[in-house]
Amino acid sequence: MTIERPSVAIWDPEHECMHVAALRELQRERLKRIVRRLWTNVPYYRQKMQVVGITPSDIRTIEDIHKLPFTTKDDLRLCFPYEAFAAPLEKVVRIHASSGTTGKPTVVGYTRKDMETWTELCARFLVAGGLTSNDIVHIAFSYGLFTGGFGLHYGAERVGAAVIPVSSGRTERQIMIMKDFGSTALVCTPSYAIYLAEVVQNLGVARSDLALRLGFFGGEFWTDQMRREIQDEMLIFATDNYGLSEIIGPGVSGECAYQDGMHIFEDHFYPELIDPDTCQPVDARRGGELVLTTLTKEAIPLVRYRTRDICTLNPEPCPCGRTGVRMSKLSGRSDDMLIIRGVNVFPSQVEEVLLEVKGTLPHYQLVVERCGALDRLEVHVEVSGEFFADEMKQLHEMERTIERKLENMLGLRPVVKLVEPKSLERSEGKAKRVLDKRKDMAP
């Protein structure tokens, strides 16, 4: 069996392949409208504009967007729960919330029109990744406050596929359903796909008993290596899609059959890349923090929302015909990127390796120091549960394994140190992932 690359199909050619000049004009109009909407309906953002001395009439061209203040997750927290809504609650038909690892979750709402937009955008990337009305879509995302399950559910139904809302968990049952119902498309997080592949093998289910041909993965950071692994193990064509609940959920961007970056649906979202420290625009190819403006959202329009996600943008035309700029896979989060000997290091990469070693994530911390002219990275790992063994030999082997895997992923070899539980610094209960001691030594 081989993986079949789907042929190019486009759900909404009128918008997805829009001529760039027409697209800019549409963005300009929509930006003006959304800024006016915020000014009128969201006192919180109006005040932010007043602070920098801007009124809606100052926004005439798309470049004028640079005059507008950024919106951050902290803003949304201050607006908890409904202050950021630009539509009255009677017009809101759906509420979702982000996980909220620090304090209050962020709450987002959708009007009926927002739901329609969301559905259409999910249909766009599903078709881009090869979905047709003949498919049976197995959704293993959880259904709940998290936006993932619902977004793809509606999108796949819109395309005309048969949707199985399996939701998350109970892996063996997932596999039985996949086998018995003939699921052809899998929707879940990439790490769960890798786990599923393992369980399929352990259960002795033959790959020929499964009809899977497509995979739509998102919701977390993943690498090209993971894509190869998923494609090779599951024999499915795997595409990446991106979204965040604050913006709309899944449906901000998605890959096409060429698997070379995720097309941002620019008629609905205006992307910018900034340097996370200076907030100045950066060269799209060099990469920076993705900033998104929702151009059509009614319930929660957000202007220049700082996603904290780091990526590059590729404006080159894509052979598929879509004109929307392509964003790369995320390379991490701007809140905690480290540059060590010229290499970008993200805690998420370390997390991936640690997860791989024992299947669970221990508390860990990256400690960077400067020894002479060289930066030195230590990864401190708290030893508990699965990570403890009664034998020195095993603990040493584990240290070396983690070091080797990290070297493969990062391109530099860190020193792994095992430390006692609860010994790593935490701030307000949340682990502090990075300790950069180089900053203390600045001249």
Partner: protein, 143 residues
């Protein structure tokens, strides 16, 4: 015939051992035997105590990483060559010892050696066949 040993992960830092000993002492747990394996960064403290459950709870509650390991307590005659005799039997039967440590009994003329074997079942068979006395958990905790 197996004895439960507590294995505790410790960073190699001044005062660590004292803290654990104090913690157990204040809880009325008596340490029967101990061994410490260490490197420059961390160590594993291995303890045989009179009240395993209590010790386990105290240590876990204090946030330490503890696990239980099955070990075998062997009675060895406390005279020159006593240990050699036991070890030779094990060697002849190709039984691998992961680690071991010993203490001297107060009441008798024997020493007790705690063994961690790679293959416990096989080790027990070999010891039994050789007529070497293996102590039960109850006996060890009441020593």
């Amino acid at each position: 015939m197996l004895v439960k040993q507590l294995s505790i992960f410790m960073e190699n830092r001044a005062g660590r051992l004292a803290e654990i000993a104090r913690l157990l002492g204040d809880a009325g747990v008596n340490i029967r035997a101990l061994s410490l394996a260490d490197t420059s960064d961390f160590g594993i403290l291995r303890l045989i105590v009179n009240d395993v459950k209590r010790a386990m709870r105290i240590l876990r509650d204090s946030g330490r990483t503890v696990s239980l390991t099955d070990v075998v307590a062997v009675e060895v005659p406390d005279h020159p060559g006593g240990l050699a005799g036991v070890l030779e039997r094990l060697r002849d039967a190709n039984v691998n010892v992961e680690y071991m440590y010993a203490f001297v009994e107060k009441a008798t003329d024997n020493a007790v050696v705690i063994f961690r074997f790679e293959d416990i079942e096989n080790a027990l068979k070999v010891l039994q066949r050789a007529g070497i006395s293996v102590l039960s958990a109850e006996t060890v905790s009441s020593l």
